[in-house]
Symmetry: C2
Subunit: 764 residues, 2 copies
């Protein structure tokens, strides 16, 4: 590896500033286009008064949740801001920039999530309304996809704008400031993914357990007190959480590329990583506008076509940009690169294309493993004939298998870019990441599609104002959403691996720099970072893998607990409020929304604290080698676990849809009951634990990069102190342990709820 | 780290030979005591003719399976023997020794498995018979535990004897020869675990799906054509597979300690690692003989008491041995260690005690998470009231959580030994492994207990010759077996981590030595092994983690496929053979045994080939750094996955038992049905995929150590050839891909079985 120690005093030329300014303008244009799309969506018809009533209740619930989440996260954000401020830095400008841009990253992440929710809670009504009109299928698809397009534009626009501003304002200290920006984005995204994920699945599972299982009433039945909460959940989880998550993926991947670029080439290295996503903005606009569903074509085919067309355009434009903006030999970057072999334009082109192809392959792979028309889901559907156990086992097999292949594909992309890059290997990996970014606009559009359709279906069902054909249209859209959601998760985790691999390099840089600061030789660096065969490192790898298991277990458990509370409340309402079952009295929807809001905000603390404090405990306690191992273990196991959880969940959900479409006995059969069990198991897998692993990995990586100088400072040199290191580590461990004990205690509280409050109402 | 390159020309003094000879005698004594215990078991009463008939059928089925497995494995063994012979070696004596002792390891591993099966298929009848007598509970417990004791004695006796012989005969090249011995043991154990695991669960799940679910007849009902196969499965999986597995754990851990010991101290380092397990033999004998169940005491309490008493005795004796046989300063090992700080006797004592304490903590942790009397299983049982989905989710949470804590405990043990060891850190880790070994005798005894009781219950049920009280006794013993089985798996995986960490050191030694052989400097070694932050290494970690997921998925899938074949055959018999349901005609038990035998032997090929060829593909394809990363990823993820699978499976099984004991509605309730689903999901988790991960890790580690010199040879120096490396890697990849495609195709064949052959018989 030939990375130099972090170049100080990076300077941009006047022409470079011009290019960055153009990028910033492209970013603003993306925001403007997002606004146009938003206006178009809002202009659509809003259906009947009854439909509007329901939509309003969902809007209010979602807004109330996000407002309360904002308050909770603000406190946390301020604390981290102060901690960040206290960490070692090179001068005040860097210290202030890093902390301030942490706040910007956090703010942007929250804003994009809020906006996603805001728009989705308005679009759902309009999609439901459009499905009732002449040519409803095309109109509904169009509104749903335009909604996604708006959110997609805001995601890429804000991400690119933030990065461009950092580069313009902080060219010299850009890397450190970018770390702050990325960290803010990742941290808030992780909380929004976890909180929203718990909300949506607690409401969903709770509603199903009482409604479908105990009272035998259909999904989204207005007599179920948890239905509004369920629909609110789609918006705060699948819309707000997802949008924040993809914004974070975008921001952190871009940050990683910019850091690596500046490390390798100084100011020159900051330009190309900004140009590639700017191209992505342009192709995303094309992708969104060309999405038109043809007659008799499934929504998935339409969406895939847009994706592939925009991916090809991205590849072509990026190739042109590489040959225009990059020299044909490394000496073009300055005399110090005269001996570096290879053609930068070719390397950059191939790296970016690796990223774009990776997105396409993940799309295909995930479509294969979770789509209703392919072998795996059909097989899971078939196993429903031998009962729920075989459904669970076959779904788990599908999850394991698809995780392995997806991880291998991601690994191959990393390795390919690494080999290709030669002396700038890590930068090439980061560039592959930016290639992946060019697809994010379309990906967000694809993903938002799902929950908006799901919600539209809920509004239609609850209002009773939608006829058979329209209902059929909405069901179709919803099924497409299951697969697009799984694809998004696959792409998100791929960005995590690429960004993390690149950040791994920053981690080593941070350590090298810190060591150089206290006069250690470059030779001491390698042995300090440790070889992988040291037991120290191996223990780190094990702890990293363990944290992923812990985090997943905590998230699943949180859903179970919060769902339990929902079950008791819905049962209580059926028992105590007369006339609900007959439809003469409206259940108290708001109470359930309040309970889930309270519980999911409470539950997100433990996994969140684990993510922030585990690397601190390992780094200060066991040293930099173990921390490197920790990151490697967390990335590897996290990747596999995230895809396993997302794809087995997607496969179960769609296997249920297969049966509901009349296969293996159809609705109401034993086979259907078996797939409902599979789907319920899959719910927290695919919508809570799985997707939160992506921001988790990045948060842990960025925390490690940020604390690296402090770890080195207390490890060798004049400030070395085992006492201080162990004390910091101990504090981190204590925080984690207390958080876990508190959440354990909560589960006992629920288990201790008096039996009469747990009692199900008599079935009608 | 201060490990020297492998010391050549290790010599043992005459006194040292004497000590090794004493160890060999202790090993032979263990075999003799095993024989005495065996005789005692065989001398017990054999019950009624009907019971003997059934036991005979089980014996014949199990013997037939193992004979066919022997034939299959022989071919594979010869192939690996030849490959091993072709690998680079230092001279003919080492080359021959390594290959010949590979055969010995393989033979011993198979023999101990066969013996375990042989004795268990005889003991089951005698336990069933004893339960009918006066004081049946004590007598039955005693026979079951003595059976385990015999197998335990054979396990430790053969393991210790093999290692002692290698040391006596090959002092100079002992490490290389020991690698061969360990590899043979691990490879065969892996196949026996996988094959036996598939057999037992395919028969069990298949029997349940038709018997319990479709025909509504109880477990072990003689009208079910799969019952004999189910009972055969307990013997070839839980007895033969488990015994081979624990033998392998014993052998490989011992091998790792001997290799590390000789690397650090030459001949001196070979003695203490042999003395510790010899002490373990003595305490195991004590443990087995003091096991007497007191009145009104659960079997688990009895077994735990024996375990703790023998653990304490081990600790005391090992401490004495350390101070008698080891010097009080490192200079006692020779002038070259004069500057090494620390007291060898103290280090060795504490390391061994760390291992013993680790076994105790795992016992406690596993007991807590899978025992019926503690919170976790009670909680899983409680969730049965809200259906199968919540049972699955809570069981998965228990699995995740217990995996994390167990992995952290194992990690802490590794790290503790590592810190303690100072300059002989890896040897200290290996010594902790030998400490763990002192408990293996009792552990095998505990584990064999389970399947023997399970089988005794089957014989009792099928014969109808056992009264209510006796049946109750057998059910109780079976429940204890569930927890002891989970404990064994925890201990086995702990040995894997300790051995693998130590072998990791051998891996680096092998590379260092190979590099030194071609004149590379010691400085080149570190960078060649790579630092952990290289993307190359990170990709290796990801592939290592992926192989664990793949292996688990393949094992679960193999069970599903083989169980499917059983279902069709049992249905066919119900449909075509008149009088089965009325009990007037005997079903064709042999046919089902034949089908499962054929399928499980066929199915074990793919996971087996994956284990052997994946490290070859990574090592030659991506280099030594990636291979090191691969091992780290496989160890970390493998540990968590193995414990997750074992403990969630154990928790589900015991939650079912809780409900069957009359909680939450009892047998036949909705809650019971929910826990039956949980148990069925858990079956391949805990008895097929989970336990096979332990030998998997060791096989992959030993393959890596063995191929390391060849990888280096083709990577740098005069023989360097990227072409050869890629060719070898490609061949390995092709073998894996073909194996996977073939097993995929098999699943299509079953799915294509004509519908009329799949049809369930009409229920009575």
């Amino acid at each position: 590896m030939s990375r130099q120690f972090l170049a100080e005093g990076i300077e941009l030329s006047g022409g470079d500033y011009g290019i960055v300014a153009v990028v910033a303008v492209v970013a603003l244009a993306a925001l403007a286009i997002g606004y146009v799309l938003l206006k178009e969506v809002l202009a659509a018809g809003q259906g009947t008064a009854k439909m509007q009533d329901i939509a309003k209740a969902v809007q209010e619930g979602a807004t109330a949740y996000l407002n309360r989440q904002r308050n909770t996260l603000s406190i946390f954000g301020v604390l981290v801001f102060l901690l960040l401020f206290a960490l070692p830095a090179d001068g005040w400008s860097e210290r202030i920039g890093r902390s301030v841009f942490f706040l910007f990253g956090a703010l942007f992440s929250f804003t994009i999530g809020y906006l996603g929710m805001w728009l989705a809670t308005r679009a759902n009504l309009r999609v439901a309304s459009a499905s009732r009109e002449q040519g409803g299928r095309e109109k509904a698809t169009r509104i749903a996809f335009r909604t996604g397009g708006a959110v997609g534009m805001f995601t890429v626009g804000l991400g690119l704008f933030g990065a461009a501003i950092v580069v313009l304002a902080y060219a010299g200290q850009a890397p450190k400031v970018l770390e702050g920006f990325g960290f803010g984005a990742a941290l808030i995204a992780m909380f929004m993914r976890v909180g929203g994920g718990i909300f949506t699945k607690a409401a969903d599972v709770g509603a199903d357990l009482v409604g479908k299982v105990e009272q035998n009433i259909p999904e989204d039945d207005p007599r179920n007190a948890a239905t509004i909460a369920d629909n609110v959940g789609d918006n705060v989880g699948d819309c707000a959480g997802m949008a924040a998550d993809l914004f974070e993926s975008y921001a952190v991947t871009l940050v990683a590329a910019l850091i690596l670029g500046s490390t390798a080439f100084g100011g020159d290295g900051l330009l190309f990583p900004l140009i590639v996503p700017a191209i992505g903005v342009i192709t995303a606009v094309i992708g969104v506008y060309i999405t038109k569903s043809r007659a008799n074509e499934s929504g998935l085919v339409t969406i895939n076509r847009s994706f592939y067309i925009s991916a090809v355009i991205s590849a072509v434009l990026c190739t042109i940009a590489a040959f225009v903006f990059l020299p044909n030999s490394f000496s073009g970057f300055g005399q110090e690169f005269a001996s570096t072999e290879g053609n930068p334009a070719v390397i950059a082109t191939v790296a970016v294309i690796i990223g774009i192809v990776l997105a396409g392959v993940i799309l295909k792979l995930t479509g294969y493993y979770t789509g209703t028309e392919h072998g795996p889901v059909k097989n899971v559907g078939k196993t429903s004939e031998t009962g729920a156990a075989t459904v669970i086992l076959s779904g788990i097999s599908v999850g394991f298998e698809s995780a392995v292949y997806t991880a291998l594909v991601i690994g191959a992309a990393v390795f390919g870019a690494y080999l290709l890059g030669g002396t700038v290997a890590l930068f090439a990996v980061a560039l592959a990441g930016t290639g992946l970014l060019t697809t994010v606009g379309v990906i967000v559009a694809m993903d938002t599609f799902g929950p908006v359709s799901d919600n539209a279906q809920g509004i239609a069902e609850m209002s009773g104002d939608v006829d058979e054909t329209a209902a059929q249209t909405l069901t179709e859209l919803d099924a497409v959403g299951n697969t697009t959601k799984a694809i998004t998760k696959g792409i998100a985790i791929a960005t995590a691996v690429l960004a993390a691999t690149a950040l791994f390099g920053s981690y080593q840089d941070a350590i090298s720099k810190a060591l150089a600061g206290i006069g250690a030789t470059a030779d001491g660096v390698k042995s300090f970072v440790d070889t992988i065969v040291s037991p120290n490192t191996l223990v780190g790898v094990m702890i990293g893998a363990a944290v992923v298991f812990m985090f997943s277990g905590l998230a699943v458990n949180a859903v179970s607990r919060a769902a339990g509370a929902v079950v008791y409340e819905v049962r209580r309402q059926f028992r105590e409020i007369a006339g609900i079952m007959e439809g003469t009295t409206r259940p108290e929807y708001g109470k359930v929304v309040d309970i889930v809001t309270r519980d999911s905000l409470r539950e997100l603390a433990t996994p969140g604290l684990l993510a922030v404090f585990a690397p601190i405990a390992v780094g200060f306690g066991l040293g930099t080698g173990a921390l490197a191992g920790y990151l490697a273990g967390a990335i590897a196991t996290g990747t596999l676990m995230a895809i396993f959880l997302a794809n087995s969940g997607g496969a179960w959900d769609n296997a249920k849809k297969l049966v509901e479409d009349g296969n293996h006995g159809g609705k109401g059969s034993e086979a259907h009951a078996a797939t409902v069990i599979g789907d319920t198991v899959g719910d927290p897998f695919k919508d809570t634990a799985g997707p939160a692993i992506n921001p988790l990995i990045k948060v842990m990586n960025l925390v490690s990069v940020l604390i690296a100088p402090a770890v080195v400072q207390f490890s060798i040199g004049p400030d070395a102190s085992l006492g201080i290191r162990l004390a910091i580590s101990l504090v981190a461990v204590v925080i984690i342990v207390v958080a876990i004990v508190v959440s354990k205690r909560r589960s006992t509280v629920i288990a201790d709820t008096p039996a009469e409050q747990q009692e199900p109402a008599k079935t009608a």
